[in-house]
Amino acid sequence: MWIFTIMPDWVVHALTALGFLALVAGFVLGMVPFIKKYSIPLKIFGLLIFVFGCYLEGGLANETIWQARVKEVEAQVANMKAESANLNTQLQEALGQKKEVIREKGDTIVKYVDRFKDREVLKEVQGPERVRIEKVIEYIEHCPVPKELLEVHNKAATMNKGEKK
């Protein structure tokens, strides 16, 4: 109720109490002779104010419960925000670790491939391993990749670009 935004709670309680007192006064003091003539207007006034006060009391109780519910939801939303931020931190950490592992594994393979790039590696290895590496290097040196195959590779690597088909 909008009225509670401008009216303090005590006014509602005071109105109800005033109405109740006026009603009681209307009945009880009606027996006193010189007040008797004000009895009926006092009863009507008291009844109206009391009914209005009761109505406002109901609204106030409803407003109080409603505000409590709003506060509860606000607390839940704040909780939700914290949980969400926490999840993001955990996920960021996990993704960073996974990315690092993938890059490290990729680099290891690239380094392994680089061993066959020149004959320097042959100084480090001996025996059957040396023969094997020498054969691989020989094969690499005498077998450049045809341009057509490179184009196929490049086409596959860029298939998300250009025309739709």
């Binding site: 409803n62 419960i65 409603w66 519910r69 709003v70 939801v73 606000e74 839940q76 939303v77 939700m80 925000k81 949980e83 969400s84 931020a85 999840l87 993001n88 996920l91 960021q92 996990a94 993704l95 960073g96 996974k98 990315k99 993938i102 890059r103 594994k105 990729g106 393979i109 690239v110 491939v113 680089d114 066959f116 790039k117 690499i140 040196e141 077998c143 450049p144 990749v145 341009k147 195959l149 490179l150 590779h153 490049n154 690597a157 860029t158």
Partner: protein, 76 residues
């Protein structure tokens, strides 16, 4: 009596910064005389890029599932 929704709208959750990064483009091989080792290196690097990107997709799925769980808790 209090079945109507409370007028509070939670903010849309922020995404993990890592997930917001775009996937890198795959590498192509340049030059006419290319050794098979160079081609192999590019292929390995492209696999690396693919797995990095697939990790992001998995991350988005996890992010969505977990954020949904958090949001569902609010509705109860």
């Amino acid at each position: 009596m209090f079945k109507q929704p409370v007028p509070i709208v939670p903010d849309f959750p922020n995404a993990t910064p890592e997930l917001m990064k775009k996937c890198e483009e795959l590498k192509t091989v340049d030059g006419d005389k290319v050794l098979i080792t160079d081609l192999l290196k590019i292929i390995v690097q492209n696999y690396t890029l693919y797995y990095e990107c697939s990790t992001k997709v998995d991350g988005w799925q996890e992010w969505y599932t977990e954020q949904k769980k958090i949001y569902e808790k609010l509705k109860k």
